[in-house]
């Protein structure tokens, strides 16, 4: 998802928000970093110099050289190609988690914020989920569901939905008291119509910023799941999995673990810069929230 797409999806955005976003230095740098990762993931088949899953025992644990730019692992697989293909897995899971947490969070937050009777029960459930360290909850759920890409996304969605729900609820609580909502009610509009046509669309701006951060968190968390061994199963090259492959070779082949971590860092840094920039552009009053 590019900044333009995110900005365009924001219903409350005034005209010119895209222009303002593009004039923001953080957004530009973030877009550059994250955009590069997206392009690499999209064209992985074309860019990757080698097959990411093909073993080559004659070249095992090779140091970075002119054939294998970032070296090889214990099966002689090309690290650079594995990283390039690994970004696909990271972004795919990140995208699934962003879509699912946004949809679930918007729905739960909207219902909790709008219907007072449901607020208590729904938010207590969210509080309960937030009482777990998110990463530990995700690891346990992913382990119970079994290692796969979709299950990793489900586990992360459960762990991160309370954040989106809380944020949407907070802004629904404000919007539901506004005059145009009362006007709609006076005109005889039903609850569903008011909530989904008037309140919710005007409550989503903070979610745009949060979704960007959740993308970053999901990329980090996916790496942890794969590192632990409950992410997408091998031989799928995932960034966390490649780091785990190199764990026992820190002495003789540190490149296996070191380079994929940099790829994660670039992706997450780009997303965080985008999130910070969008926050500045969309609502300068929003502060840095603890995540």
């Amino acid at each position: 998802m590019t900044a333009e797409a995110i900005a365009a999806a924001a219903p409350a955005a005034r005209p010119g928000v895209v222009a303002r976003a593009l004039a923001h230095r953080g957004v530009l740098v973030g877009l550059l970093l994250f955009g590069t990762v997206v392009l690499v993931a999209l064209f992985a088949d074309v860019i990757a110099p080698h097959d990411p899953v093909r073993n080559n025992f004659r070249a095992r644990l090779a140091a970075p050289n002119e054939v294998f730019w970032l070296g090889t692992d214990r099966f002689g697989r090309d690290i650079l190609s594995r990283i390039i293909h690994g970004t696909r897995v990271s972004l795919r899971i990140g995208l699934m988690v962003v879509a699912a947490t946004s949809a679930a969070g918007a729905l739960i937050g909207a219902v909790a914020g709008y219907f007072r009777a449901l607020d208590g029960p729904l938010m207590r459930v969210m509080d309960g989920l937030m009482a777990f360290p998110a990463i530990l909850l995700a690891i346990s759920l992913a382990a119970a569901l079994g290692p796969s890409e979709v299950n990793a996304a489900i586990a992360l969605t459960v762990a991160y939905t309370p954040r989106t729900a809380r944020i949407v609820r907070a802004s629904v609580l404000v919007v539901r008291e506004l005059d145009y909502v009362e006007a709609a009610r006076a005109l005889g509009a039903g609850h569903a119509h008011i909530l989904f046509r008037h309140v919710l669309p005007n409550s989503l701006t903070p979610l745009v910023v949060q979704a960007t951060y959740i993308f970053a968190l999901a990329v980090l968390a996916e790496a942890v799941l794969s590192f632990i061994g409950v992410g997408p199963p091998p031989p799928t090259p995932s960034l966390g999995g490649v780091i785990a492959d190199g764990r026992d070779y820190m002495l003789e082949a540190p490149w296996i673990s070191l380079f994929p971590g940099l790829a994660i860092a670039v992706t997450v840094l780009g997303l965080n810069l985008l999130g910070d920039g969008l926050r500045d552009v969309l609502d300068p009053r929003m502060k840095v929230e603890p995540r």
Binding site: R124, V125, D127, G128, L129, A131, F132, P133, A134, I135, L136, L137, I139, S140, L141, A143, A144, L145, G146, A216, L220, A223, V224, F227, I228, G229, V230, G240, I243, G246, R247, M250, L251, P254, S257, L258, P260, G261, I264, A265, V268, L269, N272, L273, D276, K287, V288, P290, R291
Partner: protein, 315 residues
């Protein structure tokens, strides 16, 4: 204060109820036959039946749930399939390692994070500010477990300053403990350090704009007194709030970091249990970490209310 304390204690009850429900559900969401998956393909019908009875799988879901809560109220988290001992005992034995790691990381994050945030806020938009904030952003974008590996490569393999892993109990050898914990706690702390630095800077900028700060400057107090005492005291409140949240994130991170540094804590127990499908241990570990997190935040909230009367009326 008593009313506030009681109210706050009561509000933890539904949260803990949901927590225990989720921990219970971990077994229920496993697809397929749990017992045969845990026992492996070579298990006899008799072994399977025994395992089912041990896990309570032979009873209906509702009855299992009632059993689970009954046992919980007695402090009983069940029996580890693999260790053949009580989950509570196994966890409590390893808890000091994890808590030591978590709170050392928290201390590092608070000290350096707050310091960095204050330094940045004193001269907003200066080179120092931008440099410190750029570092904070990079810090919170790095995967902590990967940073642990980088530390091992740099400080243990290349420089030989610190051991690559292993644990020394704090009570036996405090200095050895610190040497063993330096890299894991440092790797774990960096993300929270970055967050705290950003948060401190933001609230510091708010405080420095206020009248009493101008008054303090006007009556001739030196800058470091104004920033350190007058403004610093006001920044402490949001810092403590964030630190309460950080505990949860650090506890979760510790689980993974223990894996990297071979520290014998709760995290290794849980990950080991995940790899061998020892579900009672996973459930117990989840439940206990969440409970610690809830209790820490309870204590933080009560501390606040004791220190700052406004809190008692606000909520």
């Amino acid at each position: 204060m008593l009313r506030y304390t009681l109210g706050r204690l009561l509000s933890a009850v539904p949260v803990l109820f949901v927590v225990s429900l989720v921990a219970f559900a971990i077994i229920a969401i496993v697809p397929g036959d749990l017992a045969s998956e845990m026992a492996g393909p070579s298990a006899t019908a008799e072994e399977l039946a025994r395992l089912r009875a041990q896990l309570g799988l032979d009873k209906p879901l509702l009855e299992r749930m009632l059993d689970w809560y009954g046992a919980l109220l007695r402090g009983d988290l069940g029996e580890s399939i693999l260790l053949r001992r009580s989950v509570t005992a196994a966890i409590l034995e390893r808890l000091p390692v994890t808590l030591g790691l978590t709170f050392l990381a928290l201390a590092l994050a608070i000290v350096f994070g707050v310091l960095a945030g204050m330094v940045a806020a004193v001269r907003p938009n200066s080179w120092t500010d931008q440099g410190v904030m750029a570092l904070a952003l990079v810090g919170l974008s790095l995967p902590d477990f990967w940073l642990g590996l980088v530390f091992i490569w740099l400080f243990a393999v290349q420089l030989g300053w610190l051991p690559t892993g292993g644990y020394v109990p704090l009570a036996e050898d405090p200095l050895g403990w610190l040497r063993a914990m330096a890299m894991p706690a440092g790797a774990l702390a960096l993300t929270q350090m970055g967050l705290l630095a950003r948060m401190t800077r933001a609230s510091m900028l708010d405080v420095l704009r206020q009248d009493f700060v101008r008054t303090a400057y006007a009556k001739g107090l030196p800058g470091w007194v104004v920033v350190g005492r007058h403004a610093g005291a006001n920044v402490l409140v949001p810092v403590i709030t964030v630190a309460g949240v950080s505990v949860g994130i650090l506890l979760g991170g510790a689980v993974v970091i223990e894996q990297v540094f071979a520290l014998p804590g709760v995290g290794r127990l849980i990950i080991g249990a995940i790899q061998r499908r020892d579900y009672p241990v996973i459930q117990g570990g989840l439940l206990l970490t969440a409970t610690i997190f809830v209790l820490v935040n309870l204590v933080v909230d009560l501390l606040y209310a004791a220190v700052d009367p406004r809190v008692r009326y606000d909520r």
